[in-house]
Subunit: 270 residues, 2 copies
């Protein structure tokens, strides 16, 4: 591994696997501005959320190594990839210490990670894991599941957002969830809150010839607040790029105060 | 399945598997007050977060069926269990419609789900999935990984918290993460925010005789704000039961405002 100590070091991962077009497009977009360490799953890991592998051994395989770019695949989850890369794969810096990445970036995901999908997304798992390690972290996703999706139009935005995070940092415990709509021309960029929506008809039942039923998880997403102009869903359906700053502090602070006033448990106030 | 339409219906799941002592203790604690539908993983699924199974077929197996209690196991993740139960296993109510559960409950987990562990927890996956379906949802966890842990002292608190949620409900998008310390006598109950903490030394490397390295995910947790008296970690280490109201809206609302003022992307303000 041959890194330039004067350039930023970015750790990249995803949930579509190291061979996916999305992460390879991301590599091409970011190579001009940084040295890159890629550690991504061996195959598809969509819907893996922040899962890590507690009960099985994991393996790493070096796939590519040239000045400024090293690529590893991992048998585990997106979060495993980040944890293993931070523990095992960091280059040694000019001071003889392990160089910490300047950013962790997830993506570019083949598919929408807006709204409640952020909770299921392995791309967001990558980004949240970076954020939980206090490294500025960003997820990029394109609302297009096509394995051959065209990521080219995203390039200037990916570069601009990455550069700003490198320059300004992000607050502790806050990462960015960036979603690109599938449109011919972006109408602009909006910073948004997460919309509330629900998945419906999530189970498809099939009957096996041996006499049992089995199930596929599928479903249709419904935006439950389609009129809310401050949401990611609203922006995306109107052709805007949506950036949702996302917090690791999931405390419901407002309701915490309500509970203090209204709740008691086994006779004692909270 | 034989349910009493005048009693509440609770959907129970966990990440330790349907045979774990924790979920079976929970069943015993809640049977006096409600009809129970249990749908839990076939085996251990710790660390599965909100993962669902996008790429493999799933199966359900009926394990037990008596008036007021049905138990199913599922080959998938904790979140799969909730999705499949809501789609496939709900009893028909007096009105001829599927009865929606009055609550979704995850646990009782063998191990601590406070602080950032909430992001990795399959028990919280269960609870968040219920909450994302707008059903009042609670996770119970005991800070004891022993498969034979003693859950008896939790019973009055589990009953009291469940009863209050049944009576009062919870705000849309808010669920409860309840953690019990491993102490002889609880000092009381505190409603808390999530502490920030980090996992360290997460990877153990082993060498295989065939000449390659493999890795186990382990690690040691460090509370990064040990003096903060309003956190779950503070309460738990001092013998208090910690209730953290947890929001599904992960938008960083404060930083969203900052970004609107300070950021621009490709030349345009957000």
């Amino acid at each position: 591994m041959n890194y330039n100590h004067r350039r930023p070091l970015l750790l990249l991962s995803n949930d579509d696997g190291y061979q996916a077009k999305g992460i390879n497009s991301l590599v091409e977009m970011l190579r001009p501005m940084a040295d890159l360490l890629v550690c991504a799953p061996e195959g598809p890991r969509s819907g893996y959320s922040c899962a890590f592998t507690a009960n099985d051994p994991l393996r790493l395989t070096k796939r590519h190594d040239e000045p400024g770019l090293a690529v590893y695949s991992c048998t585990g989850t997106p979060v495993d990839c980040v944890k293993l890369a931070l523990d095992q794969l960091l280059p040694i810096g000019a001071d003889g210490q392990q160089r910490r990445p300047d950013m962790v970036i997830g993506g570019i995901n083949h598919g929408d990670n807006g709204s409640v999908n952020a909770h299921y997304s392995g791309t967001m798992g990558v980004t949240m894991e970076g954020c939980l390690k206090y490294i500025p972290s960003v997820a990029f996703s394109l609302c297009d599941h096509d394995p051959d999706a065209d990521f080219t139009p995203l390039a200037p935005y990916v570069a601009s957002i990455t550069r700003q995070v490198l320059e300004q940092g992000l607050p502790k415990g806050v990462c960015l969830n960036v979603n690109f709509p599938l449109v011919k021309q972006f109408r602009g960029v909006k910073v948004c809150r997460m919309a509330f929506g629900t998945w419906h008809n999530e189970v498809e039942t099939r009957h096996h010839s041996r006499g049992y039923d089995y199930y596929w998880m599928i479903g249709h997403y419904r935006n439950d607040e389609p009129e809310a102009e401050d949401t990611d869903n609203w922006a995306l359906t109107r052709g805007y790029i949506a950036i949702t700053p996302t917090t690791m502090d999931v405390t419901a602070h407002d309701y915490l105060q309500t509970m203090k006033q209204q709740w008691n448990t086994c006779g004692s106030k909270l």
